[in-house]
């Protein structure tokens, strides 16, 4: 559990080798896989970026909601025969609804508390979710049977592009666009930013701050659920998911800059490519490189690449 990425690196690199066939050098295959992996990290962490940046709440349980989405997708597909794409909105909605339950009962008490209290409470929830997942689903990897057309790949200029990874990149781009527009150019986004900047003033202007925060939180966790559902094909799913990817999500969010969606996007790509490239070219380093990249980026810019505050 303490070795994020190491056990899974083989899995991640499974498709890489196909890029090494002809015409273009393998570096493009590695770049593409790194990009796809980065998009995956982005999908998992963008919700965290929203809640952490907008509401200043350190939610370590973020990946527990992602895990919930993942297990929901697996269960719906294997036990009830749903199609993969039908489960995705479901993963989003369920993760969002469950998270609002937690937000209303537990998290909202800690919006003004110290970082330590937030870290402890939410890590407690991670522990609980890991135990519950192990109890209900067992500790094995969950199998995911994707439809055939998603498992195939396209060949272009001698590089095989896995269709699933293309879909992942496309979806991540769409979500980024929707979020940037939603938070920067809509009335709801303005309300969220107003409530964060000056809660009392926002209340005075008639903004329902509690409701705004609840919706923001639901949005963030829903995106985690969606990210989790999309991630299992590439990184697998077992109860330690909530711990393993927690670290990656934190890295992406803090390197990208709190509350900056485009920052998270850039950070996820940088980290995804350096992780995959590191494992491909210097495998003996393991996950060493991604931590080194994170520490150097943070020391260079403590507020993150595109952090403002």
């Amino acid at each position: 559990m303490a070795w994020p990425g190491v056990a899974r690196s083989a899995r991640l690199l499974g498709i890489n080798s196909s890029g090494a066939s002809s015409m273009l050098p393998p570096v493009f295959g590695v770049l593409f896989d790194g990009l796809a992996y980065g998009m995956l990290l982005f999908l998992l962490s963008v919700g965290q970026s929203v809640t952490l940046g907008m509401m200043n709440f350190i939610n370590l349980a973020h990946c527990s909601f992602a895990m919930l989405g993942g297990y929901l997708t697996v269960t719906l597909m294997s036990r009830y025969g749903w199609s993969f794409f039908a489960t995705l909105p479901c993963a989003f909605v369920v993760a969002a609804v469950v998270s609002v339950g937690f937000e209303r009962t537990l998290f909202r008490r800690l919006y003004r508390a110290s970082e330590l209290d937030q870290v402890l409470l939410t890590i407690g929830i991670v522990f609980i979710s890991v135990a519950v997942a192990a109890y209900v689903f067992g500790t094995d990897q969950q199998p995911l049977q994707l439809p055939h057309y998603l498992r195939s790949s396209l060949t272009f200029m001698g590089i095989r592009f896995a269709v699933y990874r293309l879909v992942l990149v496309g979806l991540a781009l769409l979500i980024t666009l929707a979020l940037v527009i939603g938070l920067d150019y809509t009335r709801f986004g303005a309300r969220v930013r107003a409530a964060v900047d000056n809660e009392r003033m926002a209340r005075g202007l008639g903004i329902d701050v509690d409701r705004t925060f609840a919706i923001t939180f639901a949005l963030g966790s829903g995106l985690a659920g969606l990210g989790g559902a999309l991630a299992i094909e590439i990184v697998g799913l077992d109860p330690s998911f909530a711990f393993t990817y927690l670290i990656y999500v934190l890295i992406v969010v803090s390197v990208g800059g709190l509350g900056s969606i485009s920052g998270s996007f850039v950070a996820a790509i940088v980290l995804g490519i350096s992780d995959v490239a590191g494992k491909y070219y210097i495998p003996q380093l393991g996950a060493f490189l991604i931590y080194l990249v994170m520490i150097s980026l943070l020391m260079w810019r403590p507020l993150g690449l595109l952090g403002k505050r």
Partner: protein, 329 residues
């Protein structure tokens, strides 16, 4: 922690704080009870003493100086590997092993403290986490030195003071761990009740203001971080010497998280917080994880949520509040 009304003079306040209270003496006498009451649980008792020492070292930086660290196990692991390697390659004398381990952890602590003292809040948490993970990865990839995933084998600790062998029952191990814990506790107690300790609490409350009244925040943080690293290294070395094995999880993220849990459970920013937390945590783990390890995760999660919601200052904080209310009536 409010100043009591009677002692306005800071020096008198500090002197009053250093006075030994009856409850403290009872506590330390009680640590000898396992020899009489639970002779079969002495190895658990020595684990508790080690965890308590580790939590005490974290308390110095987290509880007193307000540095939230999610990578404190790095120093524990450095101490453990130093002592383990020293013993594996021919020098198994325990006490000098502790000194070397403390030195090694202290050097790394001092080097990283230059980075640590520059950051606050989330960046700080992430940097400590990053350093911890980086070191764990390093130990993993240096398999020829550390034994990698299999752990460090072939450690043999010599007799304590040349006379007491480390046996399976943990008689010598507990006495050894307890004595080291006590000595370092005395040191910590003195440190905390010194003007330096007081200024650490000032830094925790207001990082920017302390330099203005003559306490250089960054230099103080560098000092205390190095000291905490040394003590954590000693705790790691104790574990390596008494169990005669070191595994990778001695510097993993989970151990860092565990020690934070232990400290907060007992009460951060209180000298006895780590000690009480370690006792309760390890006994509970011993009882619960006997059934299924996953259930233990569940209970520790519940415990954490309950502590944050109902006992924000830990068990000792709750007790202090309770007695304060009770004595007022």
């Amino acid at each position: 922690m409010a100043l009591s009304e009677t002692s306005i003079d800071p020096q008198l306040y500090l002197v009053e704080q250093t006075r030994w209270r009856p409850a403290e003496i009872v506590f330390w006498l009680a640590t000898l009870l396992p020899y009489l009451l639970f002779p079969n649980y002495l190895s658990l008792a020595s684990q508790i003493a080690i965890a308590a020492l580790f939590a005490l070292s974290l308390d110095l930086i987290l509880g007193y100086a307000g540095i939230v660290s999610l990578g404190h196990a790095a120093f524990f692991g450095i101490g453990a590997y130093t002592a383990g390697l020293l013993s594996k390659y021919g020098w198994g004398e325990p006490l000098s092993g502790l000194v070397v381990a403390a030195f090694a952890a202290g050097v790394v602590g001092y080097a990283t403290s230059f980075v640590i003292c520059r950051f606050r809040h989330l960046a700080l948490i992430m940097l400590t986490l990053g350093f911890g993970l980086l070191l764990a990865e390093l130990a993993n990839s240096l398999g020829w030195l550390t034994g990698g995933m299999d752990g460090l084998q072939g450690i043999h600790t010599w007799k304590l003071l040349g006379t007491f062998p480390f046996d399976l029952y943990g008689r010598a191990a507990y006495a050894y761990a307890l004595a080291v814990l006590f000595v370092l506790f005395l040191f910590t107690r003195r440190l905390i009740h010194s003007p330096f300790g007081l200024s650490l609490r000032g830094i925790r409350e207001n990082f920017v203001r302390m330099p203005a009244i003559g306490a250089p925040s960054r230099a103080h943080i560098r000092t205390i971080y190095t000291i905490a690293a040394c003590i954590a290294g000693v705790a790691g070395a104790l574990l390596a010497q008494t169990t005669e094995t070191v595994s990778l999880d001695s510097l993993g993220f989970e151990r860092s998280a565990e020690v934070v849990v232990i400290l907060v459970l007992g009460g951060a920013g209180r000298l006895y917080g780590g000690l009480v937390g370690a006792t309760i945590y390890l006994i509970a783990r011993d009882q619960f994880s006997g059934i299924v390890p996953q259930y233990w995760y569940f209970w520790i999660g519940i415990l954490l949520v309950a502590v944050v919601i109902f006992l924000p200052n830990g068990i000792l904080g709750g007790l202090a509040q309770f007695t304060a209310r009770w004595s007022r009536k």
